[in-house]
Amino acid sequence: MKNKHLKIGSILLLVLFLGSACEDFLSVNDNPNLPSQVPPENRILGAIRTSNGASMWRGTREVSAVMQYGVTRNTTGAFWNAETWRFTSAYFFWQNAYTWALPNAVDLIRLGEEDGSPHFVGVGKTLQALNFGMLADQFGAIVVSDSYDGISQVNLTPGFDPQDEVYETIIRILDEAIAAFRQAENNTPINRTGGDVLYQGDIEKWERFAWSLKARYLNHLSKKSNLYDPAAIIEAATNGFNADGMDAEFNYSAGSLQTEENPWYSWGGFVNVDNPRFFTWSQFFVDLLTKFPVTENEYQDPRISRIMQPASSDGEYRGLRPGMGLAGGQGGSGEFTNPEDYGRFSNSGFYTQIDSPMPFITYSEVKLIEAEARLRSGDVPGALAAFEEGVRANMRKLGVAPTEIEDYWAALVADGVSSHFTNLTNGLSHIMRQKYIALPLNPEIWVDMRRMDYSQSIYGPSLQRPANLNTIIFSETDETDWIRAMVYEGNEEVRNPNNVPPNTPAIRLRSRVWWDTAE
């Protein structure tokens, strides 16, 4: 009997032993492969690069066709569809901004706050405002209030904020960023591990970046006479970039991964080595670089050889007409249908080389924004001065020789630029065409084109709707019927259907965003 008790007792002991020690045994669920949190200095590089090479890149990949910078060779395929405004909900800027870029900016804000490092908060907010701005300018209403905050659980049905409220939020976030940059107490320098590829830790330049963006977004309200405030824009521009070498950009590089290279050069600009997204530049862009505004007098901008390559056949600069492909010939004329009659788009110049930067915003843009604000407020000499500095800054950046710059400016003056500035439309024509030349492939240009209603009196007679455009949605005959916004992504439409605004392409592509309507 004693033996029996002993046996039962030892069995119970064994069970108890197995039952204890559970907690440690089960504590193996922290992800062994990837961290959940790293210090902000190890997040800043990814936040900057994804805002540029994911968000802004995808915000311009197709839009560059809409802006008529590049033209495809064929008259079929996805690139041609973008060129001729055959957009569907398979347009993916949305997810690239929201998933690849924004959470990194938001995490930087949260980490900076936790770390007692407001400079990271400023960086995060500047990038967050930029992403919201790019999104709002293409879609109108976007998800802001219910967007990722780094703390909450995933919200399966985020609500959309109207664009006017988004704009208020953008300006508020930029003001918060500026305030954060101005705080003296900062625990961790933002460039501690070399992650600040924009300014190498120079907080003053970051603050000027935030001011520059504020100038840009305030200036978008030019159709809103009750909101447009030239003084505020001029103030922001003045506090923004004020010298060369401040542009918010970093150089891409020939790294060990192809995705370290400028996307137009390789990974984003091609389906495969034989199939580039854009075959060559548009004749419209060639025209802007070879003719002066208002007078349409011919003058070859020295920047053309920095941006484009001439034809290998005869050394001339030519471009195609959007929607007609190579078969359409130069500017759609039917002449020059040989591939060698055109310089190529990729690896052709300043913007499409392996290490080309994709500037978020530049000193030149800020000066041209200032010029517009001054012009609209009646300060013609001030406008002209800002304009001249904007043009010269861009030429200096492209490495144009000082003598060429002087020659170009002298020719522009001789062509009557000063007198043109006394007329708002003519002045804007100069400013907008210089912005088009100074900011190639930047989605900001699409904002300008819509603010200017794609007017030929601004952009010249060469700006036409693409050939073979999407006549299911756009009028075949009404030449003022232009594309105004983008279709929301199908993944959002299908998974968040109660919140996405009406999204059929016929509605979306022709619906003006909030700032594109008067009042």
Binding site: S27, N33, V38, G53, W100, Q258
Partner: protein
């Protein structure tokens, strides 16, 4: 112990003292000895294939027991969980057992395929004709929207890995393929949560419980079996032979498609697809040695299988396996048992699912001989812009070399006559060394690329069970088992990739510069502790009740949600015996047996490991900038620190009838399963800043019936005929999804060209197809463009349900003297197939569907811009077929109904008297045909197809015909002998 009909000695029969766990088995001569407390006990005698008998000792010291063969399958001993043996009549739920002869005669290297058509309610889909192709098994539909719906595999009491690892274009093998079918004694299929509750959460989708062979007491025997097999391609799709290479009707030797002019008479039309396949050869040798003494038994086996493929190069599957099992008694109340197996499985395979894969001939213009795959300078010759399949199968191989050990040790200890303690410790560990390279000159990697990866996977299980039983008043028998169970999963994947070979002819990662090498590592850990109780009570072996409960503690859930309990209850009544007991004898030759059963069960399930927190990563995709630092890891699921366990509730009832002197048995089951608050890995709106998130939400219902008919129409000494039928119908539907989701998409199941994928649809099927369609208005009328052409909708829609209406099988077994003929028909009615192979043919211009090219058509629909009905005729040209027709997935959805002669085996055993002078005790020859007949309206190769293999979770990739190696038909010749 003898067979009541033949008088043959029976070896290995179980004898247990009723109401206790004390017992023994008969030796090779059919004898047994058992010490009993008193000579008033009753013995329970049971043996697989025989009717169970209760024998009262009544004071005798010697017993002569004659066991009656079981006439129809049904009343037998089965393993219910952790080695617990129960009679089927005591079970309140459906369970089906398949014995070794039924497994071996199918001649399937993959044990999963051996079950095809044999078990009601089990849907098995082999993914194609490549040797070692994965096979997916679903029992009673699926319970999960996003994770694996396949059953748990248990070998000798321990769970083993049956995962399928691989990419969409190169699915691996399902790892149960490492089990040598010749080692298997029996397989028990536990179909529902009630049956599987004790195994815990991983058995929520059912369990496949495999018992391997044991030795028997007596003289040692050697068994040898050898098979040689020949396989040919089953069917190949019909290609058009009217038009040759070109564009828009004009011949162009550089064109990639067959959109050129018609062939002139006299021009050669090559059969590039048919010529590509060869007859394959396979050989298989199994040898085993077994025997034992009164106290110790052993079984040892070795097996070699070399399987060739119908594709000439890099298409093979080799398996060498060894197994040793032994048990011994150490004293009167202690028994030890150990089993160890070691398997080496080497597979060579090629990519599929794209123009550059094995089915590249679907793209190859027929005026050109694809077989000329080299240029004069030795480089690859291709005209389609994708790799020439001949070149590709030589120069883009995949290798997977697995070494696997499964080791189990068990201790059975009976400290008292009323108490049994069983402890079992087992581990299943394998290393899968993989290599994939594309030689210099491959279209997708001109400089060449090589990836080496090593997967280490280990599941270790410890189980302790304490059982006791007692009989009250000679009528009430009880049995109680309390158990403790620990399971550990450790998996790591190391991967290295190098590209741009320095020397083009040396495919090795050392042959690339260091900047071109990348590495990654991924580890997974999971721990589970369970405690369970199993309580049986029966009245006079006629009325049975079973209660089960299990509590799990899982490492994968948040600490405060990690403990969860789930119960099960089941009951069974043998009505005929009860009525008899109560004095109403309804039993007779016409109706000999009625059993009713019912069960209710709930089973909990934890989360996948490591998903509670968001993670950071440094990698993006090829469309997005390299971040060069940590970013939010949106490739992974959005972390959810508040996950709760998910639960599946099921109930089931059934009945078992036997008629006509046990010549006819009918078993019927109805079940319904509902899984609520699923741990669902779903896609999210991008504005959430994630693509994927784990949530609790969504509900799935499976409802179905199963009917099994076992008949024994002829039962004579020289001629015997058995006919077994099974039928099952399951409806898997999605009741609810979280948020406003209307579907759960499975991007792992994308068919070629992303025209369709598997998806589950709310208020619709779990196994749906999500496909591109033409735009329509609310009335379903086509919205046409201004020219009158259809337009492709940007939003994918539900276009079909892949779940069959019903599945069934019929197996006939005839024996005449020592001849035996058995064959199985496998039937699947309904269930849609998405024919991506045909879609590829349309794109390449080789589909017979493109023969209307050049004609015009007026599409019935509305011109979208005007709202008016279309009257314009449009040309059906190359552009129409490639950019519109190919993007209307509905055109490629076909009915997958099949009637298939799964296998037929004819065997002949040499009569014993002829072997008298030979040192051979038995000799058998056989010939088997596999897949010989297939009746289907499906236009593709074979409706049994799974585009991305068995590794796709949730609704899986079965029903996607996606440019894989076509299924084969084959014949086997073999012999079995015993020394």
């Amino acid at each position: 112990m003898t067979d009541a009909e033949s008088g043959d000695v029976l070896t290995g029969v179980n004898i247990v003292i009723s109401g206790t766990l004390e017992g023994t088995t008969t030796d090779l001569d059919g004898n047994f000895e058992l010490t009993v407390p008193t000579l008033n006990e009753t013995l329970v005698v049971s043996f697989i294939g025989y009717q169970r008998q209760r024998v009262a000792i009544e004071g005798r010291s010697t017993l002569d027991i004659r066991l009656a063969p079981e006439l129809i399958i049904g009343d037998e001993l089965v393993i219910t969980a952790f080695g617990l043996e129960r009679e089927t009549k005591s079970l309140g739920y459906a369970i089906q057992q398949v014995r070794s002869d039924r497994i071996i005669e199918t001649r399937q290297p993959n044990i999963v395929n051996a079950l095809q058509g044999q078990v009601a309610g089990v849907q098995i889909t082999n993914s194609g004709g490549a040797p070692g192709a994965s096979s997916m098994m679903l029992i009673r539909g699926g319970t999960s929207l996003s994770s694996d719906n396949q059953p748990l595999f248990v070998v000798d009491g321990i769970p083993i890995d049956n995962s399928t690892t691989g990419e969409l274009n190169s699915p691996g093998s399902n790892r149960a393929i490492d089990i040598n079918p010749a080692d298997i004694e029996s397989i028990t299929i536990l179909k529902g949560p009630a049956a599987a509750a004790l195994y815990g959460q991983r058995a929520g989708s059912g369990a496949v419980v495999i018992t391997t062979r044991r030795g028997a007491e007596g003289r040692a025997v050697i068994d040898y079996a050898s098979t040689v097999s020949f396989d040919r391609v089953g069917n190949i799709p019909t290609l058009q032979s009217r038009y040759k290479q070109g564009e828009q009707g004009v011949f162009d030797p550089n064109a990639t498609g067959s959109w050129g002019p018609a062939f002139q008479s006299g021009e050669t039309v090559y059969d590039n697809l048919g010529d590509f396949f060869q007859t394959s050869f396979t050989q298989n040798h199994d040898i085993s040695l077994s025997g034992g003494t009164a106290n110790s038994r052993f079984y040892a086996s070795a097996s070699v299988m070399d399987q060739g493929g119908i594709v000439e190069h890099n298409n093979s599957f080799n398996r060498n396996s060894f197994r040793l099992t032994a048990d011994t008694r150490a004293g009167s109340n202690l028994r030890l048992e150990g089993t160890a197996s070691y398997v080496e499985t080497d597979r060579r395979y090629v990519s599929q699912g794209s123009a550059g894969g094995v089915m590249g001939a679907l793209f190859w213009p027929r005026n050109d001989n694809m077989r000329d795959y080299l240029n004069a300078d030795g480089t690859q010759r291709t005209i389609t812009g994708s790799d020439n399949p001949y070149w590709g199968t030589i120069n883009k191989p995949f290798k997977s070399d697995v070494s696997r050990s499964m080791i189990v040790g068990s201790v059975f200890y009976d400290p008292f006559d009323f108490l049994n303690i069983t402890y079992r410790l087992g581990t299943d560990r394998y290393t899968d060394s993989r290599e994939n390279y594309q030689a210099t000159g491959a279209m997708a990697a001109m400089g060449g690329i090589i990836t080496n990866s090593e997967i280490n996977n280990q599941i270790t299980t410890s189980t302790l069970m304490v059982s006791t039983g007692r009989t009250f008043a000679d009528a009430i028998n009880t049995r109680l088992t309390v158990g403790h169970n620990v399971e550990m999963l450790d998996r790591s994947v190391m991967s290295q990739t190098g590209q741009n070979f320095i020397d083009p002819d040396f495919p090795n990662i050392n042959n690339v510069v260091e900047q071109d090498r990348r590495t990654s590592r991924n580890e997974t850990q999971r721990r589970l502790i369970g405690a369970f109780v199993d309580f049986d009570i029966d009245w006079k072996d006629m009325v049975f009740l079973n209660f089960r409960g299990r509590n799990d503690w899982s490492s994968t859930l948040p600490v405060n949600n990690r403990s969860f309990f789930y119960p099960a209850v089941s009951a069974s009544v043998v009505l005929t015996e009860v009525m008899n007991e109560l004095g109403y004898n309804i039993q007779g030759p016409a109706l000999s047996y009625i059993k009713l059963r019912g069960s209710w069960a709930r089973v909990g399930k934890d989360a996948p490991p490591h998903i509670l927190a968001n993670t950071l990563a440094t990698a993006t995709n090829t469309f997005t900038v390299a971040p060069l630092g940590f970013i939010s890891n949106v490739n992974n699921f959005y972390g959810n620190p508040a996950l709760k366990p998910e639960f599946t509730n099921s109930f089931e009832f059934g009945a078992d009838f036997r008629f006509l002197d046990e010549r006819l048995g009918l078993d019927f089951s109805y079940y319904r399963t509902e899984t609520d608050e699923q741990i669902l890995g779903t896609r999210t709106p991008p504005s959430t800043s994630s693509f994927l998130a784990y949530l609790n939400g969504g509900s799935i219902r499976n409802e179905g019936v199963e009917i099994i008919l076992n008949t024994h129409p002829v039962r004579r000494s020289r001629f015997d005929w058995r006919l077994d039928l099974n039928f099952a119908k399951n409806t898997a539907s999605v009741i609810d999804l979280p948020g406003t989701l209307d579907r759960v998409e499975l991007s792992d199941s994308w068919a070629a060209f992303s025209v369709a994928q598997g998806s589950a649809f709310v208020d619709g099927p779990l196994f749906g197809i999500n496909g591109r369609v033409w735009r329509t208005n609310d009335d379903g009328e086509l919205l046409l463009d201004n020219r009158g052409y259809p337009q492709v909708s940007p939003v994918l829609e539900y276009i079909g349900n892949r779940e069959p209406d019903w599945i069934g099988g019929m197996t006939n077994t005839f024996s005449y003297q020592t001849w035996s003929l058995s064959f199985t028909w496998d039937v699947r009615i309904g269930g849609k197939i998405f024919n991506a192979t045909e879609n590829a043919l349309v794109r390449s211009g080789l589909s017979t569907k493109t023969l209307e090219r050049g004609q015009t058509k007026v599409f019935d629909g509305i011109i979208e811009s005007t709202g008016e009905r279309n009257t314009q005729a449009v040309l059906l040209d190359q552009d129409y077929y490639t950019s519109l027709y190919a993007l209307n997935a509905r055109e490629f959805v076909e009915d997958g109904t099949w009637y298939r002669l799964r296998f037929v085996t004819l065997s002949y055993a040499v009569p014993a008297q002829r072997l008298a002078n030979l040192p051979i005790s038995s000799l058998q020859f056989y010939v088997t045909g596999r897949n010989l007949l297939l009746f289907t309206n499906y236009s593709g190769v074979d409706p049994e197809v799974s585009g991305a293999g068995a590794g796709v979770g949730g609704a899986g990739s079965f029903g996607f015909d996606n440019l894989g190696v076509p299924a084969t038909r084959g014949v086997d010749f073999g012999l079995r002998l015993r020394i």
